[in-house]
């Protein structure tokens, strides 16, 4: 089941590249095909979700095959509630993004075939990352996701795309390298303890030495902190987001960056509980810095894409804070937050991306009074913004409040500082809305036209889910709670 | 034995100095050949000394490689001569960093 789920987009991507490339109509066929593939993946994922036993906390639908025997590497995949949440996020966002990206202007007459194919590859790899239960397989898939993003930014982005792609690659490779060292270290430890195996189930049986555990944990954390992005390792994100297409930004921030926070749970807490406990005060402090710093930097940004990227830095701070507070409430909240943030940031990136491509500039000052000529666009920007500032009734509020309430029970000062973030969030969202949408329509902003039916069709599912999960988040929480309880149960 | 090796060393040194000091690509090329044959001589000499065929085998390999190299090398030199009218190695500097 899981292998099928991961294979559908990857095989689909190969087929899309084989389709004839050339004029617009042929490229349209490729886009249709890619959308079709992503919808098939969505269907498969929904079937998997329907078969998933919600009450069990452990891994389900496990598939295991020996892969590289001397290394103890297995092709071993399985789903738990946390993984399924993120898989669902991936398969929901991919069709939305593909639909929204139908008219993306690609630089230098590049063919759309490869563009959409890379997105599908990314989807498949992301699913693999979220389901891998073997450290080696996880590492390979984790690093492999860099390739599609590198090309998506470097080949299809806007101004300064190559530099941005390089920045992205270097940061993430550096983090990945430290993780590689830890992966090698895992082999040594596990081979010492008996038969070498990278399977999570085998690894979690091993009693690490205290220092070994800390070092291995830090190796993994380095990669995750860059990916997540945790202050001060976040600076690649605004650079990359400022040069990527909106579709790429969505996949990068909403899906792939979640690998960082997801990894912290599965390959941090689950594998190295002792070290995670040791590091949690420091990481929580950095997370709170992220929250405030990201929000302030967003307020100070003059470029819309950078602004949205900084809001994500702030939100990732909340997610990490919740994970390392180690309470059922906060950690469940964090997992839900990953899902909700994916949706709300996707909506924000897509709608601002449309604004920017219509106007031809990403500067906030290039807009003004747009609501007059584009009421639907301004309405969706407002909803996306309100979800970003965690308005009660919209999905992100539930998760943010769980994170804060859970954190409050273990560390009052940090929770109080983090709560200040809600005021800053209101400022960055409303300032953005005020400066771009309200006031008299400026001469230069007259070129902006309202959303087309296709764009509305792409954004509506996001809006519906954001509102729906704001009032009825419990199905998602039911999915997450048992798995989180199991992970937290392993902590000292 | 020592005579053969001495000859080989002398030939090799002549070739090496030629490669370093001459500008004419053809001469440089011939000097390279000279060095190759100097080593061939050493190979054969050792083969004779030890009474087995390993050295001779190696000499044959060198000859084959040298032949192939001559074909490619001469072709390049002729191409350069055609395009520039000169075969001085100092003038072909386009590939500098």
């Amino acid at each position: 089941m899981i292998s099928l789920l991961a294979a559908v987009p990857i095989v689909g991507a190969l087929l899309v590249t084989l389709l004839p490339r050339g004029n617009r109509s042929q490229q349209l066929v490729a886009r249709h095909a890619a959308l079709g593939v992503s919808l098939v993946a969505l269907a498969v994922a929904l079937v998997a979700a329907a078969r998933f036993d919600v009450d069990a906390g452990g891994y389900q639908m496990v598939e295991e095959h020996s892969w590289i025997e001397p290394l103890g590497a297995w092709y071993s995949v399985g789903l738990n509630g946390i993984g399924l949440t993120l898989v669902l996020l991936t398969v929901i966002l991919t069709p939305v993004v593909l639909l929204a990206a139908y008219r993306d202007e690609l630089p230098g007459n590049r063919s759309a075939n490869s563009y959409v194919a890379w997105m599908l590859v990314l989807e498949g790899l992301a699913i693999l990352v979220f389901t891998a239960t073997d450290a080696f397989l996880f590492y390979v898939a984790f690093e492999a996701t860099l390739v599609p993003i590198y090309f998506l930014i470097g080949s299809y982005g806007g101004k300064g795309r190559q530099k941005a792609a390089l920045t992205f690659l270097l940061y993430n490779l550096l983090g990945g390298l430290l993780m590689l060292a830890a992966v090698v270290g895992l082999y040594v430890v596990s081979a010492d303890a008996g038969e070498a195996s990278y399977r999570l189930a085998d690894l979690s049986q091993i009693a690490f030495g205290e220092n070994t555990e800390k070092l291995l944990f830090l190796g993994f954390m380095a990669a995750f902190a860059v990916k997540a992005p945790l202050w001060p390792f976040h600076t690649w994100l605004p650079e990359a987001a400022a040069s990527a297409t909106p579709a790429t930004s969505v996949l990068m921030v909403s899906v792939i960056d979640k690998v960082g926070t997801f990894g912290m749970i599965r390959w941090g807490l689950e594998l190295f509980p002792g070290a995670a406990d040791w590091a949690s005060p420091t990481i929580m402090a950095l997370a709170v810095v992220s929250i405030v710093y990201g929000a302030l930097a967003a307020i100070g940004s003059t470029d819309i894409r950078r602004l949205v990227a900084y809001t994500s830095v702030s939100h990732f701070g909340f997610i990490i804070l919740g994970i390392f507070a180690f309470t059922q409430t906060s950690t469940s909240g964090s997992v839900l937050y990953m899902f909700n943030h994916g949706l709300s940031t996707a909506a924000l990136f897509l709608v601002t991306g449309i604004m920017i491509s219509r106007r031809g500039s990403a500067e906030i000052s290039a807009f003004g009074g747009v609501q007059k000529i584009a009421p639907v666009m301004s309405g969706i920007l407002l909803i996306a913004g309100l979800s970003s500032l965690s308005l009660p009734g919209l999905a992100p509020f539930v998760s943010e409040f769980l994170v804060l309430a859970g954190t409050f029970t273990v560390n009052v000062p940090l929770a109080v500082i983090a709560t200040l973030g809600i005021v800053l969030a209101a400022v960055y969202v409303l300032v953005l809305y005020q400066r771009t949408m309200t006031g008299p329509l400026t001469e230069q902003a007259k070129v902006v036209t309202d959303l087309t039916a296709r764009e509305v069709a792409a954004l509506t599912p996001l809006v519906v889910v954001i509102i729906g999960l704001g009032l009825f988040p419990q199905p998602m929480l039911d999915l997450v709670n048992p798995a989180v309880a199991l992970v937290l149960g392993g902590l000292p | 034995m020592n005579d053969l090796l001495s000859l080989s060393m002398i030939l090799f040194t002549i070739g090496a100095v030629g490669v370093l000091v001459r500008r004419n690509a053809l001469i440089v090329f011939m000097c390279v050949e000279l060095m190759l044959n100097a080593t061939n001589l050493a190979f054969v000499a050792f083969a004779r000394e030890h009474g087995n065929l390993d050295g001779q085998l190696a000499a044959f390999f060198v000859m084959v490689v040298a032949a192939a190299e001559v074909v490619v090398g001469l072709a390049i030199i002729i191409a350069i001569h055609r395009s520039r009218g000169s075969i001085s190695v100092d003038e072909v500097r386009q590939v500098r960093g």
């Binding site: 920045t167 270097l170 940061y171 001060p232 600076t235 710093y293 930097a297 967003a298 307020i299 100070g300 940004s301 950078r306 900084y310 059922q328 409430t329 469940s332 909240g333 609501q371 308005l391 009660p392 009734g393 539930v398 409040f401 769980l402 804060l404 309430a405 859970g406 409050f408 029970t409 929770a415 109080v416 709560t419 809600i422 005021v423 800053l424 209101a426 400022v427 409303l430 005020q434 949408m437 309200t438 006031g439 329509l441 009032l471 009825f472 988040p473 419990q474 929480l477 709670n481 309880a485 | 490669v19 370093l20 500008r23 440089v28 100092d90 072909v92 500097r93 386009q94 500098r96 960093g97």
Partner: protein, 631 residues
């Protein structure tokens, strides 16, 4: 009892109007009004049912579904039911919100007739009513917070309804952000409840208070007060309310006078268990109420903008309610009583002001009014009744409700009591000033303005509200309201007013207040009624007036204490992040790049130098080999 229907009508109305296309422009306002009216009728039905129940059996809880849960209830995990509680306090609010709300819907049909976004306006009004009902019906603090922020959103949308005006957009943003500052208090209070009591259900929190430490209770009280200050525009979070007058006038009437801004008072009264247990928190509430009461009244005296004068008055009146709520069991019921009567007469006057603006081509400057009593007879009559109610003319609703608060305040502390008496005098002053400048004196409007009475659809709500302003006092008949609220707020204690060892009868207090009010009226009449009012705002005025005109420099303080430092820090950080931190990290990468560039010069293109390199390398290798062998 199906409580959720109350919320469902307006919520559905809002959803329908927001998603339905242009074709609903013609009848959208009717749907919205019908939704609000249906909610009111259902509220009446429930109210009658509640009346039929026993005195002690008037709390109905309805749990719809589990909203948020990370574990089973009572296990220490976070668990919130989407639950509604319908009790006497909620019942009163439901009637006030839907009743006044429906009237304002009706009024808006006329007021917004020529606005091409009228449908959306009504959608937002419905959204507001739904959110406000969630707020007052909530059985859990987090559900209350949902309504709390919902009304904040509706308020944001409605203040900024004329988004093309930069001032309206700025005012909307300001209102939301200032409210968010208060929300920090609310959010932290809820977190603290969860930490200490393991639950955020209002009733359960009330039960848990007995077992909590004094510090916890005080902290809870102060945090809730911070939230209340934001929503109710109490000092120090008052500055948004005056700017909020940028919204269409029915919005000011509904949200920024009658209902939403009283949410803070509701919160304090609803959390009476917490405030009963903490003297410090109650004192803080009294101080906030007192300061706002005076500050609002002073601001109201200096404004020439009719809506801003009324807004200052609103601040001041909510200060009264806050103060009453801070008096504890002696004041809760009177706070609510005043809240209800204020809802009637302030909505009446705001709508009246809207009617005046309607007649004056949207001019809000009272110095351009004058002698409107003949041109707008209905508006004048209804406004006049509201005026008599707010200054506390004997027999009118405001007389009873304000009197009770002053009496309770005097009994609590003489000085606080006297301050409230002074407040009543200032109220009489600024309201008389407003009446005189608007309706009395000579006409000061320009000739091209032709004041005309508003259409029926606008005047009928005025009449209904005026009647309610006059008759609101009957709620006190036979102490009905204190009895009614007793199951929620406890028995209303009565303390005798003792000044200097002399016991004052209630009638003496009333007489004192009436005297002060009469003095206020007289001074105002002498200044603005008998003398000619200048057509333009005079520049040379006393420091006090200038102080009041600038809203007591609240904005300036905010600007220098909060806005500028934050924005400066934000801009600095954004620049630092892009050019400092990021550069520092990429700088390391560039260092490597430069090293590579330096090495590049070795590739000079001379074949022979490459050959030399090869030979030297071979030589070095050979020598190294020889060294190894030799050793």
């Amino acid at each position: 009892m199906i409580i959720w229907l109350l919320v469902a009508f307006p919520a559905l109305g809002a959803a329908l109007l927001l998603t339905w296309g242009k074709e609903s422009d013609r009848f959208g306002h009717l749907i919205a009004t019908a939704a609000s009216a249906a909610s009111f009728v259902w509220g009446l039905v429930l109210f009658v049912q509640l009346l039929g129940r026993d005195h002690d059996d008037r709390t109905v809880t309805e749990s719809l579904f589990t909203w948020i849960s990370t574990g089973p209830q009572g296990s220490g995990a976070f668990h919130v039911e989407m639950s509604f509680v319908y009790d006497p306090l909620a019942a009163l609010f439901v009637l006030l919100i839907t009743g006044v709300g429906t009237l304002i819907h009706v009024y808006s049909i006329g007021y917004m007739e020529h606005d091409d976004r009228r449908r959306r306006f009504f959608a937002f009004l419905n959204l507001f009513v739904a959110a406000m009902l969630v707020l007052v019906l909530a059985g859990d603090y987090l559900v209350l917070f949902l309504g709390w922020e919902g009304v904040g959103l509706a308020s944001y949308l409605l203040i900024g309804f004329w988004q093309h005006k930069p001032s309206a957009a700025a005012a909307a943003k300001k209102a939301f952000v200032v409210n968010r500052v208060g929300d920090i208090g609310m959010a932290l209070a809820i977190m603290l409840m969860f930490k200490e009591f393991g639950t955020t259900e209002i009733a359960a929190v009330g039960d848990s208070v007995a077992g909590a430490t004094a510090n916890t209770i005080t902290a809870l009280g102060l945090l809730l007060l911070l939230g209340a200050c934001g929503k109710s525009a109490q000092v120090p979070l008052q500055s948004w309310l005056l700017d909020a007058m940028e919204g269409p006038t029915p919005v000011s009437a509904l949200i920024h006078a009658a209902t939403m801004v009283t949410a803070g008072v509701y919160l304090v009264v609803r959390s009476n268990a917490i405030f009963d247990a903490s003297e410090t928190a109650r004192t803080a509430v009294v101080i906030v109420g007192l300061v706002t009461l005076i500050a609002g009244a002073i601001i109201g005296c200096a404004k020439d903008d009719i809506k801003k004068a009324l807004a200052g008055s609103t601040m001041s009146q909510i200060g009264y309610m806050m103060l009453a709520a801070g008096l504890g069991p002696a004041g809760y019921a009177f706070a609510i009583f005043h809240l209800v009567t204020h809802g009637f007469f302030k909505a009446n006057m705001f709508l009246g002001a809207g009617s005046v603006m309607h007649a004056m081509d949207d001019d809000v400057n009272m110095r351009h009014y004058g002698a409107l009593r003949t041109a707008l007879p209905v508006t004048f009559a209804t406004f006049g009744l509201g005026y008599l109610a707010i200054i506390g003319f004997p027999g009118f609703s405001g007389f009873f409700s304000k009197d009770k608060i002053i009496e309770a305040a005097l009994a609590h502390n003489v000085w606080i009591g006297l301050a409230t008496v002074l407040g009543a005098g200032i109220t009489a002053f600024y309201m008389t000033r407003l009446m005189a400048m608007t309706f009395a004196g000579q006409k000061r409007w320009k000739d091209e303005v032709h004041p005309h009475e508003s259409p029926r659809v606008m005047t009928v709500p005025l009449m209904v509200l005026a009647a309610a302003s006059v008759l609101g006092g009957i709620l006190l008949l036979g102490d009905w309201i204190t009895d009614w609220l007793e199951p929620v707020v406890g028995h209303t204690e009565h303390h005798e007013v003792v000044i200097g060892g002399v016991e004052l009868a209630p009638i003496a207090v009333s007489a004192l207040v009436t005297l002060v009010v009469a003095a206020g009226v007289a001074i105002a009449w002498a200044t603005y009624g008998r003398r000619e009012v200048e057509g333009e705002t005079p520049e040379k005025v006393s420091i006090l007036t200038r102080f009041a005109r600038n809203d007591l420099y609240g904005d300036t303080v905010n600007e220098w204490v909060a806005v500028r430092p934050t924005m400066g820090l934000a801009r600095g950080l954004a620049r630092f992040d892009q050019h400092g931190l990021h550069r520092a990290i990429t700088g390391f990468v560039e260092l490597i790049g430069e090293g590579a560039t330096a090495m590049r010069s070795w590739q000079n293109g001379f074949v022979r130098s490459y050959a030399l390199g090869v030979f030297l390398g071979a030589l070095a290798l050979t020598l190294a080999l020889l060294v190894v062998i030799w050793r």
